[in-house]
Subunit: 345 residues, 2 copies
């Protein structure tokens, strides 16, 4: 199988290199090919998502992404919107048709003390956020900015809601069987459609699973005050952007959080942390999220769950043995990666 | 001055009665008149915001609201949207022209243990969220639902952003002088307008205050992992709905959280907790948020800050002396209110 890696910007290259080392260790049969995206691509080609990258992604069996974007004051951010690094990321998601973004949020036993929440609230948290990734207000063409007014449009079709809802129910069936669907149906028509389409998918095919609907403001509260109540959380794109990042701080560091974006073709796998330009190139970035994203690639992208489980185990062990700086420890990127590789032997 | 109270649904009548007792104690000159809103109004008049209430609100110097809405399975929620309880609340906000919703989030010294956050993160948190309340995706007329697709429109004009930004800077000037403006300018045109309008207000009139811009997903994270970094947080309507509720859990109970909604005329003051139908009528609801909303009414609505400070002090003292059930204590609504009244003597 052919894997395309897109290291991108900031700490992206370092953590992607770590993940590639791990992939090569457990799956030597993979062909791994590196391409440009984001600011790095802008520097070399003038575009955030160049044609060569698009071509390679089309041929790939799975894509492993690093991180995209520069510091706030980067000159990239003064380019017209379609030429900025983030636009490369959005174009990649769209090209690959990855409509379901899966973000597991798990507090590992023994690591509760890393959470900003009180340990008794953090203990045992195990949530899967399923975020719709290609619809809603992100991509809709009805958008405008002039000097004195601006708008964007949050739009969904029933079919867009149904396909991501099926992913959420499929995932819940392999977990604790509970889906919470998020909306703002007391205010938004688009949320009424969302709620009704999710309920229909449930009633037609997943009646044995538990479904409930909660308002987005209430979910934001309860993720902090009682995260243990959630199993799978299903949400539209913008709410998912906010809630998945919110949930991601529960385990204590973004450096631990992988993600998978799935559609009908190849999947896209990426750590959720940003490009962290302040620590880029220093060899201190935590590669755990990138390595765990490689594990998700093996599990969901190549259907090799046993290898994925091995990696998950080795990362958990390495974290207990010697955490990285973001977790209050002293292990550098390479030292941490070496420990994961040892654990895999 | 004339105060209109709108007790509304669930625990609204109980906590509003407590707040009225406190108002009568400190400001016997007020005329206080009660009217219907929400589900209670639907039951008696068929409408969530009846004409008599509209008339009274138009004449009021300030409005004290309880809570609006029934349980999820309430028959009210099956009415067409304009006839539901929440529509009464939105119509009230619109009629009063209250475009700036102020939600203070303060962890009181000695009450850190109530927070879901670790005490060292909760200690000293003192944030004011300023949420735009009349624009954005809530009220825009370009909205539709048909069977297979739906949309809503997030729209702002420069003037709408500027007026709420001025409130945020005005508030910051009386606090620690720092405003964080929230947007999603890396994806949304409407956020680009927001960012530029806020920056303009700053550059023209408030250059001595500190302004920075952060993405909504990042703010959601940092409110949990490092809330101490925020002073005033300025946000559009939908982001503000989510972030203000998120921030509201930091002090440990929604039962502590008041709010003020200000515009060019009379202000609207309300606890942010919901109607809590499960505990309504039992005399156990925490009236602190409603009483603190009455204090905000005196401070911002009637310009009587000294009285407001007295109430704030008496509530803090009553909380330490004997907390209500939501805070793990045993004081009932009336016992707690009596303790506040004693503190005011
Ligand atoms: C960089 C940005 C466009 C992106 C998003 O909003 O989707 C990011 O925040 C994410 O969640 O992956
Ligand atoms: C009830 C609902 C319409 C309302 C809102 O979304 O504004 C509530 O959540 C609030 O924040 O006051």
């Amino acid at each position: 199988p052919k894997i395309v890696t897109l290291p991108g910007d900031g700490i992206g290259p370092e953590v992607t290199a770590a993940a590639v080392e791990v992939l090569r260790e457990v799956a030597p049969d993979l062909t791994i090919e590196e391409h440009l995206i984001g600011g790095a691509a802008i520097e070399q080609t003038g575009e955030p998502f160049p044609a060569a990258t698009r071509g390679a992604v089309r041929e790939a069996d799975a894509v492993l992404l690093g991180t995209v974007g520069g510091p706030q004051d980067s000159p990239w951010n003064r380019l017209p919107r379609p030429q900025r690094p983030e636009s490369g990321l959005l174009a990649l998601r769209r090209l690959m048709g990855c409509y379901a973004n899966l973000r597991p949020v798990r507090v590992l036993p023994g690591l509760e003390h890393l959470s900003p929440l009180r340990p008794e609230l953090a203990r045992g948290v195990d949530i899967l956020i399923v975020r719709e990734l290609l619809g809603g207000i992100y991509f809709d063409g009805d958008r405008r900015l002039d000097g004195d007014s601006a708008h964007n449009t949050m739009r969904y079709t029933r079919a867009e809601v149904e396909r991501v809802a099926r992913v959420a129910f499929w995932a819940a069936a392999q977990r604790r069987g509970r889906v919470t669907s998020v909306d703002k149906a007391n205010v938004l028509e688009v949320s009424e459609l969302w709620r009704s389409a999710v309920q229909d998918v449930h009633d037609r095919k997943y009646r044995d699973l538990h479904l409930n609907h909660e308002y987005v403001d209430s979910v934001a509260m309860l993720l902090v005050s009682n995260p243990g109540r959630y199993d799978v959380v299903l949400t539209e794109n913008l709410f998912g952007d906010i809630l998945s990042d919110l949930a991601a701080v529960i385990p204590g560091s973004l450096g631990l959080m992988p993600s998978a974006s799935l559609g009908d073709g190849a999947g896209l796998f990426e750590p959720i942390h940003g490009s962290a330009p302040d620590i880029a190139g220093q060899g201190v970035a935590n590669p755990a999220a990138a390595i765990l994203s490689a594990a998700m690639l093996l599990r969901h992208g190549l259907n090799r769950p046993a290898l994925a489980n091995q990696i998950d185990g080795a990362v958990a062990q390495a974290l207990r043995a010697g955490p990285t700086a973001d977790l209050g420890g002293r292990a550098g990127t390479q030292a941490f990666t070496d420990r994961v590789l040892e654990g895999l032997q």
